[in-house]
Each structure stands twice: as structure tokens, then as C-alpha cells.
């Protein structure tokens, strides 16, 4: 019990003193996960929309694949990306292993299925009357799709938030492809894993609390956005 209380106290003292190393680690975490989420959204939202609105061969397979990959263990993704980016792997010439870019690649793979699948189900759950009505009003297929995406925005937003949760909390993949190099690829979660390994439980717990607070702040901002939108609905 003592360790837990100490962890909380340590968390507050770390926040108050704003340790420079810690700030660097937090910023890198946000950059890596933010970039990964952005790219995953740019691919996942169109992919989810297309599979939600159009019928084409292989559509069911894509949806199934996406749903399955939602449960992919991060360690497996890490290992896969490692083997690809390793100097002895197919993309080794790029020299990306043990850089923040490698971590972003791994996290895109983790977030993409979540964003795609949740976007897909949000689109599918929109009442088909919506599309028909748009068509009756003379909308082109593109305008019709846009109207449905607008209608499904809450669900899509949830997908983005779920993707964010996945990448912010993940440690297995970035530990393998980033290498947890001090001052270069060390992020919040890998620091927590390292400090736990070193037996610095209080510090590890303190970092965990800070990570939680950051996630809470991000989600508060997103919630306000979403709520505002929701209230504007008739």
C-alpha cells in the first residue's frame, strides 16, 4: 500500500517540478501516437466508408480481416515491423529501425484496424433512408456518401478515440522497434516498463498516473467537441 501512496506523491512532485527529461518523453509519446493516429485515420476512415457504402468482391474479407486485426497483440506487430525494417529485412536499406519513424509505423498498424472497423460499423448503422432521401433530393453519389459520413460522425469519432487509446497504452510493439533508447525513442510506456524492470515501482507508478492524466485531458477535449456537436442535433 505504501508504494501506491508513494507513487501518487511522486507523480505530483514530478508534475510540479516538470523534469526536462520527462517532458521530452511525454512530447515524444504524443508525437509518435498522434502521427500514427493521424495516418491511420486518413487511411481508415475512407476504407471504413467505402466498405460501409459500396458492395464489391472481397468486401466481406476486408471487414473480417480488419475485425481480426483489432485484437492483434502489439508484440506480434512489433516483431513483424522489426523483421521488415531490420537491416537484413526487405526495407532495411531505409535505416528506420530504432527511430521514432519505426514506432509510428508499428502504431499505424495497431490503430488502423480499429479506426477502419469502427468507422465501417458507424456507416453501416446509419438508416438507409438517409441515403435514399439524399438521392431523392438530387444528390450525386459523392454528395450522398458525404451526407452519410456526416451523419455517422459520432461513431467515426469514437473509432478515432479508441485508436488513440490503443496506441497511447501500447508498449510491446514500440519497445521492439524503437529499442527504448534514452532521449531518442524512450516514450511513456517504455519508460514505465523499464522502471518496473529496474524495481523503481514508485517512479513507474508515478509515470503511469501522469500518462493517465494526459489521456484524460485529451479525452476531455475530444468529449467537449463531441458533446457540442451532439447538442446541436435537433
Amino acid at each position: 500500500m505504501n508504494s501506491i501512496i508513494e507513487g501518487f506523491l511522486k507523480a505530483f512532485s514530478l508534475i510540479l517540478t516538470l523534469d526536462r527529461e520527462l517532458v521530452g518523453i511525454i512530447i515524444l509519446s504524443l508525437q509518435v501516437s498522434g502521427t500514427a493516429l493521424l495516418i491511420a485515420s486518413l487511411i481508415g476512415i475512407p476504407a471504413g466508408t467505402i466498405t460501409g457504402l459500396m458492395k464489391f468482391p472481397g468486401r466481406g474479407f476486408i471487414i473480417m480481416l480488419s475485425n481480426t486485426f483489432m485484437g492483434l497483440p502489439p508484440v506480434v506487430v512489433g516483431l513483424f515491423v522489426y523483421l521488415i525494417l531490420s537491416r537484413s529485412g526487405p526495407l532495411g536499406f531505409m535505416g528506420l529501425l530504432y527511430t521514432p519513424s519505426a514506432m509510428i509505423v508499428a502504431q499505424i498498424i495497431l490503430a488502423l484496424p480499429i479506426v477502419t472497423s469502427l468507422c465501417h460499423s458507424a456507416i453501416v448503422n446509419i438508416d438507409p433512408i438517409m441515403g435514399q432521401a439524399a438521392a431523392t433530393l438530387g444528390a450525386t453519389p459523392y454528395q450522398k456518401a458525404l451526407a452519410i459520413v456526416r451523419e455517422a460522425r459520432h461513431g467515426i469519432f469514437s473509432g478515432i478515440i479508441a485508436g488513440l487509446g490503443r496506441v497511447m497504452a501500447e508498449v510491446g510493439a514500440i519497445l521492439i522497434v524503437g529499442g527504448n533508447i534514452a532521449g531518442y525513442t524512450r516514450v511513456m510506456t517504455t519508460t514505465i516498463a523499464l522502471e518496473t524492470d529496474k524495481g523503481n515501482f514508485e517512479l513507474a507508478l508515478a509515470l503511469g498516473i501522469i500518462l493517465l492524466i494526459i489521456s484524460l485531458l485529451i479525452n476531455m477535449v475530444l468529449y467537449v467537441f463531441q458533446k457540442k456537436g451532439a447538442q446541436r442535433r435537433p
Binding site: 498522434g34 502521427t35 531490420s86 537491416r87 458525404l146 451526407a147 460522425r153 533508447i181 524495481g199
Partner: protein, 283 residues
């Protein structure tokens, strides 16, 4: 889509969100600095003991070369070098190292320093290994008594050493109920052994650095057997195997470690209780 104006506000927010993320991501575009740096594949024992945090700044100040350390088990660290994912390896499994040099993956291997392995276990010593002559006898006593023994089980230098002792006494512990392979780093393995009131083989550096912090209710039961000698070596990735490897900088690091200055830096590194953890012995 005039009929959908109410969605416009939220779409705008969505756009703001993406702009925010995008701006953040701009900062992430790798700070491609021109500074010289090498990647060193090493082991958890050197990283977690704090040795690197102590000696690397000295080296960096002198040469301007930044050493980025990826800490893995010795097996994984050597593998990293073999695949060309590191420039230099600093590990402790001499036989594996020499084999990798022979295979042409590494060049210029040097002894750097050593510490030793010790057998730790519960103070009441249920297998009665305290006072036996050698590590082999101690292992045999543990096996005979069937008291739990926790193994790293991760191809690390410590694990390799442990397996070599089992092999020496002609014993195959794998699969025995008292033999627990945990596949974790040294400190975690110690903690598991502590919880299970089991024996384990550990390196003195990790033991000294962590026994108080982790509140281990264990004690050293066997030490001093020459068989338990733990030699650390450093070697550069062979530039003929991997052209991109930063051989020149890697060799600067190797040569510094075995120089008088590097050796003195290693000798002066102490843990917070004032124990010297590594004894330099470069020739």
C-alpha cells in the same frame, strides 16, 4: 449539401482536431542532426546497473560520439549485430561472442571487464548448498532436493552460464517441476525467485544493485568458484558484412573502453551503496 449545415460545425472541429495532430506530427519529423552517433547492442545488466549512464557521457564528451544503447539479453544483442541493426555489441557470453566473430559477423573483440555470478536463495537454504565446494555441487544439491530453481530462460549471458553448469553435471533440468523458466530480465527473475523462495543464478552487479531496493529476502549461498566468472566483451560489427555499419566510430568506442581512461571510468563506477560492480580487465 445545403440541407446538412448542422454537421458543418462538427466537421470543422474534426478538421481542427486533425490540424492539431498534424502540427504535433511536424515536430516528430526526425531531428536529423549531423552529430556522430552509434548504436550499441548491450545487455540489461549493463544498462540497468547504471554503468552506461555513468561512462557514456565521459566518452561522448571526449569524442563527440553519442552512443545509443538498446538493452536486450545477450542472445538478442548479438543477433541484432548479426542482422546489422547495431554498430557495436557489448555483451557477456564469451563463447557466443567468439563464435559470432568466427562466423564473420563481428571484428575486433576485446575483453573489457568482469563481474561474477553468485548463487542466491532463501537464507534457510533448504537444499543445503552453503559450504559446498563448487557451483556444480550446488546445482546437483538443488536438483536432488527438488527445491525450486528459477532460470532466466531467455538466452541471456546469465542463462547461457547456467545451462553450461547443468550440462557439466550431466543434468537436463528442462521440464522438471522444480525448474522454473521465466524468460525475464535478471532483476525480475530475482524477484520471482524471492516470491517463490527459490534459488537462482544471478550476477553480482545486479544483486548488489537491487537486493535492498527490491527488499529481497535472499542471500548469497555460493560464490568464488572460477566457473562463475562473468566476462564482458565488446566487438564491432564487421563492416564487410554490413556496409552501413559505422565501423570507424564503433572502433573509437571499442578502443576507448579498453584504454586506460575507459578502464578507469569503469573502475570508478559505484552503485549507490558504494559497491564497485565491474572490475576492468582489458589486456
Amino acid at each position: 449539401m445545403n440541407g446538412n449545415k448542422k454537421g458543418g460545425y462538427e466537421m470543422k472541429l474534426l478538421r481542427h482536431f486533425f490540424t492539431m495532430v498534424f502540427v504535433l506530427s511536424l515536430f516528430a519529423t526526425i531531428n536529423a542532426s549531423e552529430e556522430k552517433e552509434i548504436l550499441c547492442a548491450s545487455t540489461t545488466s549493463t544498462e540497468n546497473s547504471g554503468l552506461f549512464a555513468y561512462i557514456l557521457p565521459v566518452f561522448e564528451k571526449k569524442t563527440g560520439i553519442k552512443v545509443k544503447v538498446v538493452a536486450r539479453g545477450t542472445g538478442a544483442a548479438i543477433e541484432m549485430g548479426k542482422r546489422g541493426d547495431a554498430d557495436v555489441a557489448f555483451v557477456h557470453a564469451k563463447e557466443q561472442e567468439l563464435k559470432a566473430v568466427e562466423e564473420g559477423y563481428f571484428v575486433n573483440r576485446h575483453d573489457v571487464m568482469y563481474n561474477d555470478f553468485v548463487i542466491i536463495g532463501p537464507p534457510d537454504d533448504p537444499s543445503k548448498i552453503k559450504g559446498v565446494k563448487s557451483a556444480s555441487d550446488a546445482f546437483r544439491a538443488i536438483a536432488d532436493s527438488g527445491h525450486p530453481f528459477v532460470s532466466r530462460g531467455d538466452n541471456s549471458g546469465t542463462h547461457t552460464k547456467e545451462l553450461s553448469i547443468w550440462k557439466k553435471i550431466g543434468m537436463e533440468p528442462k521440464g522438471k517441476t522444480w525448474y522454473l523458466e521465466v524468460g525475464q530480465g535478471m532483476e525480475k527473475t530475482q524477484r520471482i525467485a524471492n516470491e517463490k523462495r527459490a534459488y537462482t543464478l544471478t550476477d553480482r552487479g545486479t544483486w548488489l544493485a537491487t537486493k535492498d531496493k527490491d527488499k529481497l529476502e535472499m542471500t548469497i549461498l555460493l560464490e568464488g568458484d572460477p566457473l562463475l566468472f562473468n566476462q564482458y566483451g565488446v566487438m564491432a560489427v564487421n563492416p564487410e558484412k554490413h556496409k552501413h555499419a559505422k565501423y570507424k566510430e564503433a572502433m573509437e568506442f571499442v578502443n576507448w573502453l579498453i584504454s586506460k581512461e575507459g578502464q578507469e571510468a569503469i573502475a570508478s563506477f559505484k552503485d549507490k551503496n558504494g559497491n564497485q560492480l565491474f572490475i576492468p580487465n582489458a589486456k
